[in-house]
């Protein structure tokens, strides 16, 4: 394939990346974040998958089968714990404005500059091999692709001239990208949204490319998994790939462990997972999406490795390039180009994020502390330092990338991709004890962390880095083979005679054992000073305290102007102004009227500074303007102790007050109900008295008339006595109904429930009102089918209801041409009975209230009440007791239909059986 095609495609791809990052940054500046979707967060974490995954996994699988997998199983396990561990890391970092892993460790152990510096050095030295791996992979794949349609071994890198070495150009391009999007300005939170968008995009590209080649090889070249693995099994040479040897089992554990440490301890993972995290909730999606990504990108590793071994002679084609060689062998130029771009995206993604993370660390924790202390540099007097900060970071990026290139030229040829990467993993894993224990154990001290890190790093250097120099011929090889000065016990691959591990497992075991052991041991035998103690509490209890209670410990004063100027020097005047404005708004204070900054404000300023120059440097800088001192260790202990007691009490109090609130709420509701009932009772009483008084009054007045006028004629007398009798009867009825209602409501009524045919009941009721109907010349139509299903009710009460409805209908139907229809039907599980009349109907607004007590629709022509106002409420009570419903439908002027339902016996029985 022509070189210009490959180069053009690469440049086009990188330009697209630039465009995405640029767009992402612009959207971020406008406040419309492009990467708000949590999927971006999960995809950016997939920067974990580098060229190592893309090319190296297949190489590893071709050599030792399943051993490529622990590197991805480890992170999966960590993410299952992510809700506890990663969320805590994110919270701690947000509260303390931590911007790198060095900052994290430094801040945890008393904002120690020494410790942060050590972490930075370990990170830079440890990661260089990893960066060189990416350069090697890109240059290898470039060489292989260039030879298309030939399938070749990649050239040795050392042979080409420096300026003709494509790896150098790739390295410089990557550095440029990192500079453009990683160091655009000093951001107090170190968010690089454009970069994250670009990285997420790269994760998609590399996944698509890898899946494409996997699908092509498995289903295009071979006939699916079965065919591929079947052929391999038939050849008999693949048992070692399909199973694990005993050596594989022991390194399996080590590799899983290493990968678990790496996913949290690699500077670039910390950068994307913690520093670039916009919202803690995004973690929720990442907890399953990132492992799912890992599964997807590993699905075809073994098939490609097997296919490669079946197709090529391992002597002529390096397994590390199978991914690319297979499409070339099959004469698929476009697929090959896609694979190359996929590999390029894997490499660029890693280098970009890694260099940005490392440059932040080098600048904040290595260069700045030195510069701030050196008087002759005059930094501490200079007005605006943001420019200086950015220059340092940019320079660092270039230097790191060039060092990575150098490592690649010097050492890279000797090792396979995965082995180089693992060297870096072991270095990064050294941070694990100090970091993880530091988040959950308050006892770790600065001295312990320092000693542990230093010893672990030293062992790594001795057992992995030095031997790699030796194997590349830079120092004599017998150092590896027979130990320094011939001392067998110090052989770097068999320290103290330990055997049974490969070099990586051996180094992992020793370095982490010594590191963790010394960390714990020294921590237990040294004391923390005040600020260590505070920071430890702050980290471990981050979910309990929420935010810093550091203000309690720092008794300093500074003028507001000094503080503002200080912050402005490092983050720029505009951003400083903005930060202070936000602070004032959040607190509701007016900074214009303030002259002296209180402890809270000083602490705030320190936090903002920490975002730009690291916690340790920020502490030093704030200390230079704020006059005051830390409280002593005894007082710190006392306050922390007290604070934890207070927290406990306040949590108990909170619980109590919640219970109290709930109880109060219940009581208030009960009270409301009682008041309402009381009011109803009063209403009821007054209505009842009123209703009773009307007939009583007429009885009394007529009997008085009779008493006072003995001379009345007999016709009149008979009339009056008749009225008295009727009124007395009405009174009796009223009282009977009142009693009924009272019993009903109190639930004291005796019910005689039975199953019976409702037809005769309706007929009986109709017969009962027959006299009235005839008297008023009303036409009554009864439509009650024979053989209705049985209902479960109280027969007498049901009759009472029907009679009541019928007599109402008689009362209200049209006086001239009165018509009443009675109908009974079984509908579903219910019997429905309706009584219709052709009277004046019931106005809509009354239809709901008609079933309330003493509500009567007054006849417009005749204001005299026609009933007691208790009939319908009683019907309602009865029907509801049966489990039915009663209602009215009416259009004014067109009569009213009262209907009710009663459950059928069979439905009730069925329900009982089902229950």
């Amino acid at each position: 394939m022509a070189g210009w095609v490959v180069i053009l495609a690469s440049l086009a791809y990188l330009s697209l990346l630039f465009a995405i990052a640029y767009y992402g940054d612009r959207r971020a500046d406008q406040g419309r974040s492009l990467i708000k979707n949590p999927a971006f967060y999960a995809l950016s974490i997939a920067v974990y998958c580098t060229s190592w995954t893309f090319y190296g996994s297949v190489g590893r699988a071709a050599e030792s089968g399943a051993e490529f997998l622990p590197i991805y199983l480890g992170p999966t396990l960590v993410f299952l714990l992510g809700w506890f561990m990663l969320r805590k890391m994110i919270r701690i970092s947000k509260v303390n404005r931590i911007t790198s892993i060095a900052d994290f460790v430094g801040a945890r152990y008393g904002k120690s500059q020494m410790l942060a510096g050590l972490v930075t050095i370990i990170a830079v030295v440890g990661i260089l091999p990893y960066i060189s791996l990416q350069l090697k992979a890109v240059s290898q794949s470039f060489g292989v692709l260039l030879a298309y349609p030939e399938v070749v071994r990649p050239n040795a890198s050392g042979t080409s001239l420096l300026l003709l070495d494509e790896a150098l150009w790739v390295a410089l391009l990557m550095a440029m990208f990192s500079i453009l999007f990683g160091t655009r300005h000093i951001d107090a939170a170190e968010h690089h949204q454009g970069m994250v968008a670009a990285i997420a995009f790269e994760s998609i590209v590399k996944l698509v490319a890898f899946l494409a080649v996997g699908l092509f090889v498995t289903f295009g070249v071979f006939g699916g998994f079965g065919d591929l693995f079947g052929k391999a099994a038939a050849s008999g040479a693949f048992d070692k790939l399909f199973t694990m040897g005993t050596g594989g089992i022991s390194s399996w554990v080590m590799l899983t462990f290493l990968a678990m440490a790496a996913i949290v301890c690699l500077p670039r993972q910390f950068q994307v997972m913690v520093v670039e995290n916009l919202n803690e909730r995004d973690l929720k999606k990442a907890i399953w999406l990132f492992p799912a990504y890992l599964i997807a990108i590993n699905l075809f590793v073994l098939p490609i490795a097997v296919a490669g071994l079946l197709t090529f002679d391992a002597q002529t084609v390096t397994p590390d390039t199978f991914v690319l060689s297979l499409p070339i062998h099959e004469k698929q130029p476009w697929l090959a180009l896609l694979v190359f771009l996929g590999g390029l995206s894997a490499a660029t993604g890693m280098v970009i994020v890694e260099t940005i993370a490392l440059s932040t660390m080098v600048c904040n924790d290595l260069v700045m502390p030195v510069l701030l202390r050196s008087r002759w540099f005059g930094l501490s007097q200079r007005a605006d330092l943001t420019g200086a900060l950015l220059s340092i970071r940019r320079g660092t990026i270039v230097v790191i990338v060039l060092f990575g290139y150098l490592y690649y030229r010097l050492i890279g040829e000797t090792y396979a991709l995965v082995t180089i990467g693992l060297v870096s993993f072991v270095a990064a894993a050294q941070f694990a004890p100090a970091m993880i224990a530091g988040m959950f154990w308050k006892g770790g001290t600065r001295a312990g962390a320092f000693a542990g890190l230093l010893s672990g790093f030293a062992i790594w250097f001795y057992t992995l880095l030095l031997p790699s120099f030796a194997r590349s011929g830079w120092i004599p090889l017998d150092f590896v083979e027979s130990g320094p000065f011939g001392i067998e016990l110090l052989k770097p691959y068999n320290l103290l005679g330990l055997s049974g591990f490969d070099a990586i497992g051996h180094a992992t075991f020793w370095s982490l054992l010594v590191n963790a052991g010394i960390y714990v041991g020294v921590s237990m035998s040294t004391r923390q000073d005040a600020i260590e103690r505070i920071q430890a509490a702050q980290f471990v209890d981050v979910f309990r305290t929420g935010a810093a209670h550091e203000t309690v410990f720092w008794r300093g004063t500074a003028t507001l102007t000094e503080l503002r100027d200080l912050v402005a020097r490092f983050v720029g005047a505009e951003r400083a102004e903005q930060a202070f404005r936000d602070y004032a708004r959040a607190r509701g204070i007016d900074l214009g009227k303030t002259r002296d900054a209180d402890a809270d404000l000083i602490s705030f300023a320190e936090r903002v500074l920490a975002g730009a120059i690291g916690a340790a440097s920020a502490r030093v800088m704030v200390g230079s303007v704020a006059k005051g001192e830390m409280v002593g260790i005894e007082e710190v202990m006392r306050i922390l102790d007290e604070a934890s007691h207070i927290l406990q009490y306040s949590r108990q109090l909170e619980l109590k007050s919640q219970q109290l609130e709930a109880a109060t709420r219940d009581l208030r509701e009960a009270n409301l109900r009682l008041t309402e009932l009381d009011r109803l009772k009063d209403d009821f009483l007054s209505t009842v008295s009123h209703e009773l008084r009307t007939p009583l009054t007429s009885i009394r007045s007529f009997s008085e008339i009779l008493l006072d006028n003995p001379a009345l004629d007999s016709a009149q007398r008979a009339n009056f006595v008749g009225i008295i009798a009727r009124e007395a009867e009405r009174l009796t009825r009223l009282i009977n109904q009142l009693l009924d209602l009272a019993k009903l409501e109190a639930g004291r009524l005796e019910w005689q429930m039975s199953d019976f045919d409702p037809g005769p009941v309706v007929d009986d009721a109709v017969a009962a009102v027959h006299g009235l109907v005839v008297e008023r010349e009303i036409a009554l139509e009864s439509d009650v089918p024979v053989g209705l299903p049985f209902v479960r009710a109280d027969k007498d009460r049901l009759t009472q209801v029907v009679i009541n409805l019928l007599s109402n209908a008689v009362k209200f139907t049209d006086p001239e041409k009165g018509r009443i229809w009675v109908r009974a039907r079984a509908i579903g599980d219910y019997l429905e009975v309706s009584v219709r009349d052709n009277g004046p109907g019931i106005p809509t607004e009354w239809q709901d209230r008609i079933f309330e007590r003493f509500i009567q629709v007054k006849n417009r022509d005749d204001p005299k009440p026609m009933g007691t106002g208790l009939g319908l409420p009683i019907c309602k009570q009865i029907i509801e007791f049966f489990g039915g419903r009663i209602w009215v439908t009416s259009r004014p002027g067109q009569g009213a239909t009262f209907s009710f339902t009663v459950p059928l016996s069979r439905a009730i029985t069925r329900k009982l059986v089902a229950a």
Binding site: A66, L69, L73, T76, L77, F79, L80, W83, F84, R87, R91, K94, A188, A189, G224, F225, G226, F229, G230, A233, D239, L241, F242, T243, M244, I249, S250, V253, E280, R281, I287, W288, P291, A292, I295, L302, G546, A547, A548, H549, T551, V552, R555, D582, Y583, A586, D598, A599, D600, F604, R607, G611, V631, R638, I639, D641, E642, A643, H645, I646
Partner: protein
């Protein structure tokens, strides 16, 4: 209502299943040169368990009850607890 915290405990349970399921003693059970459905047994097991874990993690994390979620932070970075009164006023506690 579910007890708060139970979702998070389930995630720990998944971690333990994974840690044990991917550990060598269990792996040796499947470490046989066999093809099951055309796929090496060891890989079938590894990817099967892996996929299962991720699917379950997804189901658990999506229904974490609100109490387990972090409270929204109005002002990331700035301390939100009002400064306690420092100094000699705080005598005799703890």
């Amino acid at each position: 209502m579910r007890r708060p915290g139970v979702g998070a405990e389930r995630l720990i349970g998944l971690f333990l299943i994974g840690a044990i399921g991917f550990s060598p003693p269990v792996l040796t059970l499947f470490n046989k040169p066999l093809l099951v459905a055309g796929i090496p047994l060891l890989y079938l097991y590894l990817f099967g368990l892996w996929i299962l874990l991720v699917v379950l993690a997804g189901l658990v994390i999506m229904q974490l009850v609100p109490a387990e979620e972090p409270p929204p932070r109005a002002d990331a970075g700035a301390p939100t607890i009002p400064a306690n009164e420092p100094g000699p006023a705080r005598e005799g506690g703890g």
